[in-house]
Amino acid sequence: MYQEIILDHYKNPHGRGLREPYDGESFQVNPTCGDEVTLRVRLAGETIEDVSYEGQGCSISQAATSVLTDLVVGRTVGEATRTMDAFVELMQGRGAVEPDEDVLEDGVAFAGVAKYPARVKCALLGWMAFKDAVNRAGISLPGNGASGSERQGVQS
């Protein structure tokens, strides 16, 4: 599961740090291990101008958040939603979902993580924060990424 791409993102995370100004911020915790992330989103109209974040967590959660910034910054909220849905589908697919590299780019490296259910939450932590931060910025993100039954973190 520890693809080279994941370890690279873990060691050299993209977009790390909390930046001002921002339109929405979310704090998420994984209740089983205490890992946490604070993530901010800055929007320009429908476009995601910046994602900044800070937190503590394992290689998977850190790398997944780093990949997230690559996948959503500069895209519209609608595009980001589709990417998120694809990533969530991949992670919940138990290794049976074939990832689309055109959509997920470096995110395809997480295909192996999907075989380890206990780590899926790690990979999704940043995405939950992203979804919530966009919501808090006043834009409702549909999609299957964080329905009630999959809510995994705490918001404060």
Partner: protein, 429 residues
Amino acid sequence: MTAVRSDTAPLDVAALRADFPILSRTVRDGKPLVYLDSGATSQRPRQVLDAERRFLETSNAAVHRGAHQLAEEATDAYENARAAIAEFVGAIPGELVFTKNATEGINLVAYALSNSATAGPEMARFTLSAGDEVVVTEMEHHANLVPWQQLCQRTGATLRWFGVTDEGRLDLSNLDELVTERTKVVAFTHQSNVLGTVNPVRTLVERANRVGALTVLDACQSVPHAPVNLPALGVDFAVFSGHKMLGPSGVGVLYGRRELLEAMPPFLTGGSMIELVRMEGSTFAPPPQRFEAGVPMTSQAVGLGAAVDYLTAVGMDRIAAHEHTLTEAALAGLGAIPGVRVIGPTDLADRGGAVSFVVDGVHPHDVGQVLDGLGVAVRVGHHCAWPLHRRLGVPASVRASFYLYNDLSDVDVLVSGVREAQRFFGVAS
């Protein structure tokens, strides 16, 4: 997955019995066991025993707490069982909470309601206080009565109840006077564990909905014996027990409408049900985890999953039809004995397979003892429905209850055993 039989072809009882090791034992000096006490607890087929053992010998670990392979496998087994059981009653997995038995499930709801008083302003909708009412029935098992008495004691609310007719049906004549704007909860049994009576869920739910009361269905005696779709019944909550449906003891199920489970405060608290814990205070996980504190009855949930697979493979329609036949025979056989009086409906409409009776001049304990001496296991006493017995004017009764592994010969042994008890105590006519 096992193939599902939805036809109503008669059960091959001999073949089924071969799955239940205990049924081949003898009791009291070599008498074949005639087990007519499934209403208290059912027996378990090899398939359930094997599933639990297989789990324990290969995948046992603490669920939802570990990242190693055993923990993953155990969590999958536990959640797959939840999914199978949910499907069995027409629900989604997130609506099913594992409890230790049905009794805990009812207490969970009752305590969540009283806890809401101190759980923050958004819980106000669940709060009961003086002037509010909880409505039950006079035919409830103690499990669906005492927790509501206690809830009333904790909150100052008042307990009211539906009466029972001489025929053993719910007396709904005062439905609109009993269930009113003051009513916060209507709790009732789907099928009486004493009388076999099946209650009109729809009528009660409609009235409760009209006044905005929560409904709690005791499905302990219905889910094991007939196809039951809980969401279709429209109840807010329902409970049933694993041990009454071929599954392990130590596991029960609370079904709750998702929206309610999500809004309710927790009951038991501790590990695995939290979201964030600080010394100063804690927040809680979404359901069903919110209501499953501590290491759960893991292998028992897996066993119950295997039990519903077994029941589904046999076919719940066929099981219901089979019990119908046995009940009909028992009512006819017992009804034909002078001095024997069945308590509960004698017509078969809306009636399940529990047959309770009294024998003039012979105390139920003594009837039970004579039957036990003949190898027949029945229940004697008030069957945890003391107020119902008081209402029907008998201190106790004898209850025979049937399941898929019983057949007509068991009914014959029962009926001749009751005659034997009459002879022994000199009251045969």
